[in-house]
C-alpha cells in the first residue's frame, strides 16, 4: 500500500507542474457517438415506415380505401385487394392464440408450481430452445412431418364426420385433405409463440410473493384454486401483455407460414383450406413482382406494419405497467 500513497503523492506533485485537463474533445465525441447510435434506432423505425408507405402509396391511391376490403388479386388485370391476406393473417394468428396461450400458461404453471426442483432447469431450457429454432425449420417440420400426420389423422376423419352438417360442415371440411391450410399454419404459429409467452408468464409468476401462495395453500386451497384465484389475478395484466407480444410475432411470422399455409389467393370458409397471410404473400410474390403488383405488396406490408406496431405497443404498455406496479 506504501507504493500507492507514493504514487498519489507523485501524481500530486506532477499535477502541480503539468496539469492535464480532462480530454473534453474525446469525452464529447464519445457522448455524441452514443447519442447518435440511439438515434439510429429511431431513424431505422421511421425509415421502415417511410419506405413501405412510399412504396405502397401508388396502390392506396389507385384503389382507395377499397384496397383493404377488396378480395381481388389478379396480376393479369392489375386488380389488387388486401382482404384475403388480411383475413388469413388474422385467422391464423387467432388460431395460434387459441391453441398457444393455454399451452403456454400450462407450461408456465408447470414450471413454477408443479415441476420437481431437479427437473426445472432442463425443462425450462427445453422450452426456451424452442424459441431458438429458426422459423424456416418450423416450416420444414410443419410441411414434411406435421402436415401428413395432420391430414391423415385429423383432416380426413373430421371431414368425413362433419360432411353435410350445417356450419361445422363448411368450417371444418377439407376439399383436398393435403394437411396444409390456415389451421395448420395456426398450429405451427402456436408452437412458435409458446416459448415467448411461457417465459414471460413464468417470470411474472415467479415475481408473485411466495407468501400469497402459501397463505392460499394454508387455508386449504388446491393447486387449481391457487392458480385460478391467486396467481392468475395477480399476473393478469402482464399475461395479457405477453399474449399480445405473442400475437405480434404470429402476425408477422413469414417463413414457417409460407411453407404450410398453401398460398391460395381465394377466401375460403373452411379453416382446413389453404389461404395466405400478408407476410406469406409478400415472401412468395415479391421477387417476381413488377409495377402495380409491387406497390400492392408494399401496401400490404404497410397494413401489416400498422397492425403489428399497434399490437406491440399495447403489449409493451401492459408488460411495462405490470412491472412498475
Amino acid at each position: 500500500m506504501a507504493s500507492l500513497t507514493e504514487q498519489i503523492a507523485l501524481a500530486r506533485s506532477d499535477a502541480g507542474i503539468v496539469r492535464r485537463p480532462p480530454s473534453k474533445g474525446l469525452d464529447g465525441l464519445f457522448r455524441a457517438a452514443s447519442y447518435g447510435s440511439a438515434l439510429v434506432v429511431l431513424l431505422v423505425l421511421a425509415g421502415i415506415l417511410g419506405s413501405i408507405a412510399y412504396g405502397g402509396w401508388p396502390a392506396f391511391r389507385e384503389f382507395g380505401p377499397g384496397f383493404v376490403t377488396s378480395t381481388a388479386w389478379n396480376i393479369g388485370t392489375e386488380q389488387f385487394g388486401a382482404w384475403v391476406a388480411i383475413v388469413g393473417t388474422l385467422a391464423s394468428a387467432l388460431i395460434a392464440l387459441l391453441i398457444g396461450v393455454p399451452l403456454s400458461l400450462a407450461i408456465a404453471v408447470y414450471l413454477t408450481q408443479l415441476c420437481p426442483g431437479w427437473a426445472r432447469k432442463p425443462v425450462a431450457m427445453t422450452i426456451e430452445l424452442l424459441a431458438a429454432v429458426p422459423s424456416i425449420i418450423y416450416g420444414m417440420w410443419g410441411l414434411f412431418i406435421f402436415a401428413p400426420l395432420f391430414a391423415r389423422f385429423v383432416q380426413v376423419p373430421v371431414s368425413n364426420l362433419v360432411e353435410g352438417l350445417p356450419i361445422v360442415g363448411t368450417l371444418l371440411y377439407a376439399r383436398v385433405p393435403s394437411g396444409v391450410g390456415i389451421l395448420t399454419a395456426g398450429i405451427i404459429l402456436a408452437i412458435m409463440i409458446v416459448p415467448f409467452v411461457a417465459s414471460i408468464t413464468r417470470d411474472m409468476l415467479d415475481q408473485i410473493p411466495t407468501i400469497l401462495r402459501e397463505s392460499a395453500y394454508g387455508i386449504g386451497c388446491t393447486t387449481w384454486e391457487v392458480v385460478r384465484h391467486v396467481l392468475v389475478p395477480q399476473a393478469s395484466v402482464s399475461i395479457i401483455g405477453a399474449i399480445m407480444l405473442g400475437l405480434g410475432r404470429a402476425l408477422g411470422e413469414t417463413m414457417a407460414v409460407t411453407f404450410v399455409i398453401g398460398n391460395a389467393n381465394r377466401l375460403s370458409a373452411s379453416i382446413f383450406d389453404p389461404g395466405s397471410t400478408i407476410a406469406s404473400r409478400i415472401a412468395n410474390e415479391f421477387n417476381e413482382a413488377d409495377g402495380m403488383q409491387l406497390n400492392a405488396l408494399m401496401a400490404l406490408g404497410c397494413i401489416l406494419f400498422v397492425i403489428t406496431v399497434i399490437v406491440l405497443i399495447v403489449a409493451r404498455l401492459l408488460v411495462r405497467r405490470a412491472k412498475v406496479a
Binding site: F30, S34, G47, C115, T126, W141, G218, T223, R316
Partner: protein, 300 residues
C-alpha cells in the same frame, strides 16, 4: 414446490388423508390442472425432440464428402455441396454483427448511462422494443427500397445491412439491461479519480458488464443466423461458387434451404436437409453458450 399440498399431505389427526375430505369436484379440477400442465410441457418437449430427430435423420442422409467443399449443383444434377451457402451465410452474418455491435452497444450505453430519465431515452427504449419484435420481412422490404432498388441489384451488402437491423435491437436491449446491473458506486469511484464520463464508461462500466454484453452479441448472432425472410429480397441466392464480390446475389444457407426444400429435385432436397441440420445445430449451440455465459456471470 415448497408449499404444502393438501392433497398429498397426511392429515394431522384421524389418520385418513385430507384428500378424502376434499370435495370430489375440487379434486377433479386440481387433478385436471396437474395433468393438463404436465401434458402441455410434454407436448413442448416432444415437438422440440421431433424437430431435432427429423433434422438428424434427414440431415445426415444428405451429408457427403463434398458437402463442405463444393458449391450448390445446378437443378437436377447430382453431387455438389453447400460450401458457397455456408461461406455466404458466415459473411452475411459477420457483416450484420460487425455493423450492429458498435451501434447497439453505444445506443445501449446512451440509454443506460446518459439518457437516464430523459424523455428521448424513454421513447427510444420503447421503439427499440417495437423494433425487436417487428416482422423481419418488413425489414427486408425496407432494405430493398433503401439499397437494392437504387443499386439495381441484389447484393450481399444489402443482406448484411438487413441482418444488422435485426441484430441491433437485441444488442441495445441486453447492453442496457446489463449496464443497469452495474452498481452506481463503481461509476462514482471512477468519477472520483477524476476520470471523464467516457473513461468511466469504457474502463469501469463496460468492463464490469462485459460478460453480459458479449451474451447479447451471441444472442443477436443466433437470431440473425437463421433469418430467412429479410434475405429473400436483399441477398437472394446464387448457385455459383462464391466470388469475393458482394455486389450481386450471395448464396446463403437460409434462402438455399427455402428454395431447395421446396424444389422437385431429390438431390437439392437432401442438400437442404443437410443445411438445415447444420444451421440449427449452430444456432442451438450459440443459444446454449449465451446461457452459460450469463450463468457464470451470475455465479460470480
Amino acid at each position: 414446490m415448497d408449499a404444502v399440498n393438501p392433497l398429498t399431505e397426511a392429515a394431522p389427526r384421524g389418520g385418513a388423508p385430507i384428500g378424502s375430505r376434499v370435495r370430489p369436484s375440487r379434486r377433479l379440477a386440481d387433478r385436471t390442472l396437474r395433468i393438463a400442465c404436465l401434458l402441455a410441457t410434454i407436448i413442448g418437449a416432444v415437438v422440440l425432440g421431433s424437430i431435432l430427430l427429423m433434422l438428424i435423420v434427414e440431415g445426415l442422409r444428405g451429408f457427403s464428402a463434398t458437402l463442405l467443399t463444393q458449391p450448390t449443383p445446378g437443378p437436377g444434377s447430382e453431387g455438389g455441396g453447400i460450401a458457397n451457402a455456408v461461406l455466404g451465410s458466415l459473411i452475411l452474418t459477420l457483416i450484420g454483427i460487425v455493423v450492429a455491435t458498435p451501434i447497439g452497444v453505444m445506443a445501449g450505453t446512451y440509454l443506460a448511462e446518459y439518457g437516464r430519465g430523459s424523455k428521448l431515452a424513454d421513447l427510444i427504449r420503447f421503439l427499440n422494443d417495437v423494433l425487436l419484435s417487428a416482422p423481419s420481412i418488413l425489414i427486408g422490404l425496407f432494405v430493398y427500397t433503401l439499397m437494392v432498388r437504387p443499386m439495381g441489384t441484389y447484393s450481399g451488402w444489402a443482406g448484411g445491412v438487413a441482418l444488422a437491423i435485426i441484430a441491433t435491437p437485441v444488442i441495445v436491449r441486453t447492453t442496457e439491461d446489463m449496464l443497469r446491473l452495474v452498481p452506481g458506486t463503481l461509476r462514482e469511484a471512477g468519477a472520483a479519480l477524476g476520470a471523464p464520463t467516457s473513461r468511466v464508461i469504457m474502463s469501469v462500466t463496460w468492463r464490469a458488464a462485459s460478460a453480459g454484453i458479449v451474451t447479447g452479441v451471441i444472442l443477436a448472432l443466433a437470431r440473425i443466423a437463421g433469418e430467412t425472410a429479410p434475405l429473400l429480397f436483399t441477398a437472394l441466392n446464387n448457385n455459383s461458387w462464391f466470388n469475393a464480390n458482394l455486389m450481386g446475389g450471395v448464396a446463403n444457407l437460409p434462402v438455399m434451404i427455402y428454395q431447395f426444400a421446396l424444389s422437385p429435385y431429390p438431390n437439392w432436397q437432401s442438400l437442404a436437409w443437410a443445411g438445415a441440420l447444420l444451421i440449427t445445430m449452430a444456432i442451438l449451440a450459440l443459444s446454449v453458450v449465451a446461457r452459460l455465459v450469463i450463468k457464470t456471470e451470475r455465479a460470480r
